[in-house]
Structure formats: structure tokens, C-alpha cells
């Protein structure tokens, strides 16, 4: 199969230098994003997936945050090191973001219209009327009722769903090549979630753009994702097509996650869960960050960090269990 990678993230490390110590929120993330796919970043809260997303566009607070190593290659340039001017042209235009909580992500004192039009004018110049028309179209595309007066509404006058959709509309206004959706549905209720998921899927088909979909909810992954990257302790521990992840997870952690998925067919006394809890990003465990919770832990796991290696086709895993897998194939 031939894919063309439009975003390549390699060994990305974003650390936060706080009074309490260095928070290694992102600690060597590797993945690549393909044209037109939806890549899901999956992981428990605090595993660093959101920071990863922010790091792509260098949107985290700095100081204290700092990208200590790694590359984010987009369109031939490295977003981690390129001048601010350059990345600003990427932000919103090439790579747009949709945030978790539209309520707080939208500026309360400007109308939706203003905020969308601002985005439109941020890259490229249109006349007042044209800008407005564009904004209107976007809102309609997000099938927001009476888009006309939605333009003049303030965020607090809108329902959660409308806000979220308005937000997406805003992010699309410069039709970017990549859309990063950071848990866009956690803050909204089920029906709205459905709408939003629908919209996103539609988008992918209509404009052939790539989406990085960040979530902790595997059911959503199943719904929308083409591939999924499982993140643990600030690293990608496994990355593979979604059904591979769901049906044949390789990494013990992924297995754990899948096991936790409530399965309607089987009736269980109690929901299984992974023993122990997510590692503290200030002092990550030696070696494999998962080893304290790992059932199949080996000595080597305690000492050396596993590499992310190909085990089958596009299925990559970072785990010592598969150390020699690659060798077999060869």
C-alpha cells in the first residue's frame, strides 16, 4: 500500500521545567500522519496526548514548557525549530486545532462571527462582505440553525453543541490540510457527540484532509479512526490500524485497555481494569515506563527502554516482548 506522509513526528520530547521538577509530559513521541487518514492518539488522561497535540504547533506555555528534542516535519520544514513567523503561517492555515472545551476555548467577549472572521483574515485578505459570507457558509456547513444571527451571537448565548461546531467551523475557515481535534466530544453530551463525530467524518470525505483525533475513548476510535497511536507515559507504545489495535493489540498496555472495553456479548461480574495507575511524569520509571503495571514484565524492561519497532506491516510496538520479532521476519 502506498501512503504519503504529510506530518512526521520523531522522538518529540516536551518537558516542563517547574518548581517541583521536570515534568516529562511528552517524552519521545514518534508517529507519522498520512494524507487523508484519521489518526487517533489514544491514552489515559495525563499520558501526554494533549501536550503532544499542542507541541505540534508549539502552543504549550513556554516557559515553563520546552521542546528538548525531536522533529515535527511538515511540508519539508521542522515546526519545532522553524522561526515563529513561519509556524504562525502554519497555525490555522495548514494545521488547525479544535479544542476539548469550546466554552473556554472561545473568547467570551467577541461574537462568534468576529472570531471566525478573524481566523479567515489571519491568513489572506478578503473584503468585509466576503469574509462574512465565508463565515456564514462555514457555519451552515456545520449545519448551525439560523447561521445568520449565530454570527452575531456571543459564546455564552450558544448551546454547548453549537459552540463546539462553531469552533470546528472556525478551525476549518482556512481549509487546513490537517485538523487536530483534541477530545472534541468530552465536554458535550451524547447526542451532540454523535453530531460532531458525523461532521468530522463528513469532513474527511468531503475535503480530503487528515485528522489527528485525540481521545481516551476507544469506542470513538473504533468509530472514526483509520489508525491509532497508543500513548503511555509520554511515548507512543503502539501504533497500528484501528482494527489491528482493537482485535490484535500487541502491547500489554493496549491489551489492558482493550480488555477494559465493556463487551456487551460477554457478561462480566466486574469490569476489568489495569492494576496500578498512570506514571508520574516527574519521575518516570526506569526502562519501560509501563513495567510497574505490566503482567509480562521482564528484567530487561526495568533497565532499558524498548524501541518502537515494526512487528507486522505498519504495526509498530515499543515492548521488549517483541525485541526479536523484527529479527524473525528478516
Amino acid at each position: 500500500m502506498t501512503v504519503n506522509t504529510i506530518l512526521e513526528v520523531s522522538n518529540l520530547k516536551t518537558w516542563f521545567y517547574t518548581r517541583r521538577g521536570i515534568v516529562k509530559a511528552v517524552n519521545g513521541v514518534d508517529f507519522d500522519l498520512w494524507q487523508g487518514e484519521c489518526l487517533c492518539l489514544v491514552g489515559e488522561s495525563g499520558c501526554g496526548k494533549s501536550v503532544t497535540a499542542l507541541s505540534l504547533l508549539r502552543l504549550f506555555d513556554s516557559p515553563p514548557g520546552k521542546i528538548v528534542s525531536g522533529k515535527v516535519i511538515y511540508d519539508g520544514i521542522d515546526l519545532t525549530s522553524c522561526p515563529v513567523k513561519r509556524i504562525r503561517q502554519v497555525r490555522g492555515k495548514e494545521i488547525a486545532m479544535v479544542f476539548q472545551n469550546a466554552q473556554s476555548a472561545l473568547n467570551p467577549v467577541f461574537t462568534i462571527g468576529d472570531q471566525i472572521m478573524e481566523q479567515i483574515n489571519a491568513h489572506g485578505h478578503y473584503g468585509r462582505a466576503e469574509t462574512r459570507k465565508k463565515a456564514l457558509m462555514l457555519l451552515e456547513e456545520m449545519n448551525i440553525p439560523q447561521a445568520e444571527n449565530a454570527l452575531t451571537m456571543y459564546p455564552h448565548q450558544m448551546s454547548g453543541g453549537m459552540k463546539q461546531r462553531a469552533m470546528i467551523a472556525m478551525s476549518l475557515s482556512c481549509d487546513p490540510a490537517i485538523l487536530i481535534a483534541d477530545e472534541p466530544t468530552t465536554a458535550v453530551d451524547v447526542t451532540i457527540r454523535a453530531q460532531i463525530m458525523f461532521i468530522l467524518q463528513e469532513l474527511m470525505s468531503r475535503r480530503n484532509m487528515s485528522i489527528i483525533f485525540i481521545t481516551h475513548d476507544l469506542s470513538l476510535v473504533r468509530e472514526i479512526g483509520d489508525r491509532a497511536a497508543v500513548i503511555y507515559g509520554g511515548k507512543v507504545v503502539e501504533i497500528a490500524p484501528v482494527d489491528t489495535i482493537l482485535t490484535a493489540p500487541a502491547h500489554p498496555y493496549t491489551r489492558g485497555l482493550i480488555a477494559c472495553l465493556p463487551d456487551i456479548s460477554a457478561d462480566l461480574k466486574r469490569l476489568p481494569s489495569i492494576p496500578g495507575n498512570t506514571p508520574n511524569p516527574i519521575d518516570l520509571p526506569q526502562g519501560c515506563t509501563f513495567h510497574p503495571r505490566c503482567k509480562d514484565v521482564m528484567d530487561i524492561c526495568r533497565s532499558t527502554e524498548p524501541e518502537l519497532v515494526n512487528i507486522a506491516g505498519v504495526h509498530k510496538v515499543a515492548c521488549h516482548l517483541y525485541d526479536n520479532a523484527g529479527v524473525d521476519r528478516a
Binding site: 502554519v90 490555522g92 473568547n107 467570551p108 489571519a122 478551525s171
Partner: protein, 320 residues
């Protein structure tokens, strides 16, 4: 909205009336009397005073019972008669009319100065949080808040006027308000009066900015690819301004008869502050009450304006 304003105005009238009464009663029931001043003068010139005491009281209607005086005063006030200042021997309104401009220009200029510099510095130190600039700014603001204005004024005169001779030691009313010379001679007073407010604004602005700098919509704005200037100057500031408005407006109301007065004394500016305080010392209640009323209405008006500005600045707020 209108009904709200009307309600507010109604309240204002009540409050004003309360203050008017308190002032009047304080002045006329207290142990001091307007006549004392005459007595002293007459005695100093070696004249028998007792024979004229009642005469003077009668002349200014001070011999009537206090209630009657109060009703009389209220009656006149309702007819728009502010009365006669016997310490300045002219109609109260003429007195105020010829002096207000001096307080006004002082307060206006120093506020502008304080707001521009204060807010600017505050923004700077917020953006450059925990840098040298930030620390310098906060130390400066501490100093500004703590330095007694009237003393600062004296020191400025001592240094710039007495020793260096850069400025005149006093305020000269012969220069027209709009002349450059007038602006020049207002530099020290404006500095003196402005520094306190300025320092306050620095701190408030800083914290207000910091509160908003970490908000999510700022990240959104950045994610849009907006320039840092737009992000800070538009998205952050616009939100930070809200708490600032209250503080600045409140400050404005409070300095008129506080810091402004002391500044007027130190620099010999014949403003309303001077007028009112001389009136107090002369027991000239017509003036004192009038000035107090004006001060009150000023504050009330400022409060109202603040609220209105709020409704404009913050779409989430609605009065009804």
C-alpha cells in the same frame, strides 16, 4: 436597561440627600460656629466682640433654630438656589464655577498619565512575567503605592523648583488652561497625583493580564496563527480590561477630594479641593454641602458609567 438607569438615578438621589443631611447637621450642630472667625478677627483688632456676636449671627440667619435653617436650605436647593458663601462672599455656584476647572484638569491629566503608563507597564510586566522587567515594575508599583503624595510633592518642589529651579514653585493661574506653559507647570502636580494611581494600575493590570494569559482562548487565538501582538493586545487585554475598569473608575472618584486636594495645597492650585477645605475651616456650610453634593454625584455618576461600560465590554452582563 432604561428602567435600570432610572432605578439607579432614584437611588442616587436618596443617597445624595442622605449625605447632604449628614453634612449639614455635622456642620451646624457641631461645637464650632461660622461666627468664631469674625470674633477672632475683631478681637485681634482690639475691639469689643460681645456686642456684635448676635448681630453677625442674625446677619447670616444663624440665630434661627437648626431645623428651620435646614428646611430653608433644602427649600432653596430645590429651587436650584445653592446659596451664598459668606467666607468667599460670592454665590456658591460662582465660587465653584471659577475653581472646578483647576481640579478637573489636574485629575484628568493625572488619570490619563496613570492609565496609559500604568496599564502599559502592567501589561509589559505580565507578558514578561518573572523577568527583571517584571520585578522592577512590581517594586516600582510598591513604591508608588506607598509614597505619601503630599510629601512626594514637597520633595519634588524642593528638588526641581527650589534647588534645580527647573519648575516654578507654585501654580500660576495667569496662563490660559490650554497654553503649553500651563501644561508645563502641571507636570509636577500630575506626577505627584498620578504616581499612586499609576502604581495601583500596574499591579491590577499585571494580575488581570496573568489571569487571562493562561486561559484556553489564548491558546485558541495562537492556534489561529495570530500574531502575538493581536493575541495579547486584543484577546487577553480585552478580557483583562473588565476588572480594570472598576478599579480605575473607583480610583477616579476617590482621588478628586483626596489626593487631588493635598496636591492642590502643596502646589497652590486653586481647585475645588482648596475651596471646599477652606470652606470647612470657615464653617461655610453652603459651600461645604454644595461641594460634598457635587463630589457625591460625581461618584454616583462614575459608578453608573462604570456599569454601563461594563455592559458594553462584557456581553455576559445584563442589567434589568
Amino acid at each position: 436597561m432604561r428602567s435600570y438607569i432610572i432605578k439607579r438615578l432614584f437611588y442616587s438621589v436618596i443617597i445624595a440627600w442622605g449625605i447632604l443631611t449628614i453634612t449639614f447637621v455635622l456642620l451646624r450642630v457641631g461645637p464650632t460656629s461660622p461666627v468664631d472667625r469674625y470674633i477672632l478677627n475683631i478681637a485681634a483688632r482690639g475691639q469689643d466682640v460681645d456686642s456684635v456676636r448676635q448681630a453677625i449671627e442674625a446677619r447670616y440667619g444663624l440665630d434661627k433654630p437648626i431645623i428651620e435653617q435646614y428646611l430653608l436650605y433644602m427649600g432653596n436647593l430645590l429651587q436650584g438656589k445653592w446659596g451664598w458663601s459668606f467666607s468667599a462672599s460670592q454665590p456658591v455656584m460662582d465660587l465653584i464655577g471659577s475653581h472646578w476647572i483647576y481640579s478637573f484638569q489636574l485629575v484628568l491629566l493625572s488619570s490619563i498619565f496613570a492609565i496609559i503608563v500604568g496599564v502599559g507597564l502592567g501589561m509589559l510586566s505580565a507578558v514578561k512575567q518573572n523577568t527583571k522587567i517584571d520585578y522592577a515594575a512590581s517594586i516600582f508599583s510598591f513604591i508608588g503605592i506607598s509614597i505619601p503624595g503630599f510629601w512626594l510633592g514637597l520633595m519634588l518642589i524642593l528638588v526641581f523648583a527650589v534647588y534645580l529651579g527647573v519648575f516654578r514653585t507654585y501654580y500660576d493661574t495667569n496662563y490660559p488652561i490650554w497654553s503649553l506653559e500651563n501644561l508645563r507647570q502641571l507636570i509636577l502636580p500630575v506626577l505627584t497625583l498620578g504616581i499612586g494611581s499609576l502604581a495601583g494600575y500596574v499591579r491590577y493590570t499585571r494580575s488581570a493580564m496573568l489571569d487571562n494569559l493562561r486561559k484556553e482562548f489564548v491558546t485558541t487565538a495562537r492556534a489561529k496563527g495570530l500574531s502575538e501582538r493581536t493575541v495579547i493586545g486584543k484577546h487577553v487585554l480585552r478580557n483583562a480590561v473588565l476588572p480594570l475598569v472598576t478599579i480605575i473608575m473607583f480610583d477616579l472618584g476617590s482621588i478628586v477630594f483626596g489626593g487631588a486636594y493635598l496636591t492642590e495645597i502643596v502646589f497652590g492650585i486653586p481647585g475645588l479641593g482648596q475651596v471646599s477645605f477652606n470652606a470647612i475651616f470657615a464653617n461655610d456650610y453652603a459651600v461645604v454641602v454644595a461641594v460634598t453634593l457635587i463630589g457625591t454625584f460625581l461618584v454616583l455618576f462614575i459608578n453608573l458609567v462604570t456599569d454601563l461600560i461594563y455592559t458594553y465590554l462584557d456581553p455576559r452582563i445584563r442589567y434589568d
